[in-house]
């Protein structure tokens, strides 16, 4: 098989997986509703908390943006990384592993399918949140905002691919680890508050700089709420690019390593671990 044929083959596989995600995701309308309503409820609690302490209105905007980006992180964790866990439990993982395709192609398909679904819903949450809480927006460089957004997504999905490798080998431990990665990531990345605030201890700021989401959130807030532009956010762009360039090859290595380990230990298709 030539490189071109190999690429086309894997793109077909990625497209098929994307198609399953989009088709399946939209066949249950109650999910659509849940993915709109549940985030708004949670975000509202934090917005009211800011109101209780008389914080300026842009802080409500921080919450809305944070919540919107969290939708992508949740999608990465549960609809991509943890997907191998579901596939293993239902027997589909075996079919993937026996097929002559790259694992990254499957994850790419999942990622893109999830991205399409999540973007639509996140956009709806974002708009609803801005309107309900009347957050003042100040977007002077929409292209810069888009670049930061796309780079953040790229880095997050690369991170998600790395986590997916855990699910190849483990069962419930990986599941619980993914569970564990929700609130701590929200805390460290400053999903609902700026990590640059003087209140945040230095150690926390240091740890948060290891998470791509921190840079993404900070960049988008600056550009969308605080009216800043490329001159202020170029460090965020560089950081996100570096994250993506490091995480993608790491993800491939992790997937290969975990798959081999799983094959050696006979845990690759073992259910109910």
């Amino acid at each position: 098989m030539t490189s071109r044929e190999y690429l086309i083959h894997n793109m077909r596989a990625a497209y098929a997986r994307l198609w399953v995600r989009i088709k399946g995701g939209n066949r249950e309308p109650q999910w659509l509703l849940a993915e709109l309503i549940i985030p708004i409820i949670t975000l509202s609690a934090y917005v009211f908390l800011y109101k209780m302490v008389n914080a300026p209105p842009e802080y409500a905007g921080f919450v809305i943006i944070g919540g919107t980006m969290m939708a992508f992180w949740s999608n990465v964790l549960w609809n991509m990384s943890a997907q191998f866990y579901w596939e293993k439990e239902t027997g589909t993982l075996e079919a993937y592993l026996v097929a002559p395709i790259s694992r990254m192609a499957i994850l790419l398909g999942m990622a893109l399918g999830g991205f399409v679904n999540t973007t639509l819903r996140a956009a709806a949450v974002f708009v609803a949140g801005i309107l309900v809480f009347q957050v003042p927006m100040a977007v002077y460089e929409p292209f810069t905002a888009l670049v930061i957004f796309l780079l953040t997504i790229g880095a997050l999905y690369a991170l998600g691919m790395m986590f997916a490798s855990l699910f190849l080998l483990y069962g419930r431990e990986a599941w619980h680890t993914a569970n564990l990665l929700q609130e701590p990531i929200q805390f460290l990345s400053g999903t609902y508050y700026p990590t640059t605030s003087q209140v945040i201890p230095f150690m926390v700021q240091l740890l948060s700089s290891l998470i791509p989401l921190t840079f993404g959130l900070d960049g988008i807030r600056r550009v969308a709420i605080l009216g800043q532009g490329i001159n202020q956010v170029w460090p965020n762009i560089i950081a996100l690019t570096i994250f993506t360039l490091i995480l993608l090859p790491l993800a491939k290595k992790a997937l290969d390593f975990m798959e081999n380990l799983g094959k050696k230990e006979g845990r690759l298709t073992l259910r109910w671990q």
């Binding site: 044929e5 086309i8 083959h9 596989a13 399946g24 589909t92 079919a95």
Partner: protein
């Protein structure tokens, strides 16, 4: 614990090869190794000329795996949608895939369920879907791991005859089939390897395996009790192997004994009568693959599975 111990087999191109053994014998482990899902701890194996450890990608291009009792796929998609999805994993262009899917659905007779969600299909139709999925890429080597597990008699028969037709007439492909149903191995396979506790005990065509038992006599007796004690058989000479099946519904036990001489069986009947057991029937049986297994291991599949 060794799942496989010094297993060495060679399967010819175009052959339907059966791996027959009780639960826990190592059949699925062997299939997983050959389909690149599991790494062996020692030895080598090649599938279609490709090394399973060093060239797994090349192996995957020419094989397919269908496991019984499992239906990979997405419950929320219809049968045909699932098949289209899997066709793309094998790189089939969409138009080719659609034609192939239509043909497979027709051949396996589930056209009326083609647009039904997979989660709503019965076990039998799910397995037909599973088989169709396995044939989408027209594999050179088809691995079937207990493909009729949990299926009713009619569906099992249909699937078996379809697989044989596919292998012998249509594709002339190679099939490795694992099963613990003797009749299935007998009906389908050109050659059968009997495996027990990770070891290959015998490997030959079903006919030749059974012929080897012609020197022995196989007798069956049915006694009217499920509590009959057959412990005395362990101490009797001249017994090659024993298999017993107890039926609580009919309160009977079927005893199948392989003996070197018919008079040994007469001794057995006397001992049973001394236990005041009513002997309902006695007849001579033709050797089956289970008898071959019994002759090699000394006990039957049912006892093995009970144990």
């Amino acid at each position: 614990m060794k799942a496989l111990d010094d297993v060495s087999i060679y399967i010819d191109e175009g052959e339907i090869f059966g791996l027959l053994g009780p639960n826990g014998a190592g059949k699925t482990t062997l299939i997983k190794i050959l389909t690149t899902l599991l790494l062996p701890t020692g030895g080598t194996a090649s599938v279609g000329g490709f090394d399973i450890v060093k060239e797994p990608h090349k192996v995957r291009k020419i094989i397919s795996l269908v496991s019984g009792g499992e239906t990979p796929g997405y419950g929320i998609l219809s049968a045909s949608e699932n098949l289209w999805f899997f066709s793309q994993l094998y790189g089939l262009p969409s138009s080719t895939a659609k034609t192939e899917i239509k043909r497979l659905i027709a051949d396996l007779e589930f056209e009326e369920y083609a647009k039904t969600r997979m989660s709503k299909l019965s076990t039998g139709y799910k397995q037909r879907l599973n088989l169709a999925r396995g044939l989408l890429n027209n594999p050179k080597i088809f691995f079937l791991d207990e493909p009729t597990l949990g299926l009713d008699v009619l569906t099992s028969r249909k699937l078996r005859s379809y697989i044989v037709d596919w292998a012998k007439k249509e594709r002339k492909g190679t099939v490795l089939l694992t099963t613990h149903y003797m009749a299935e191995a007998d009906e389908m396979c050109d050659r059968v390897a009997i495996i027990d506790r990770g070891k290959i005990l015998a490997c030959d065509s079903p006919l030749r395996l059974k012929e080897k038992l012609k020197e022995n006599v196989i007798m069956k007796a049915e006694v009217s009790s499920v509590q009959a004690d057959f412990g005395f058989l362990d101490h009797m000479k001249g017994i090659v192997g024993v298999s017993q099946t107890r039926s609580i519904q009919t309160n009977t036990t079927s005893l199948k004994v392989m003996v070197r001489e018919e008079r040994t069986f007469n001794d057995i009947l006397s001992k049973l009568e001394k236990q005041n057991l009513k002997i309902l029937s006695v007849n001579r049986a033709e050797p089956t693959l289970e008898d071959v297994y019994i002759s090699l291991v000394g006990r039957g599949f049912e006892e093995e599975n009970t144990n």
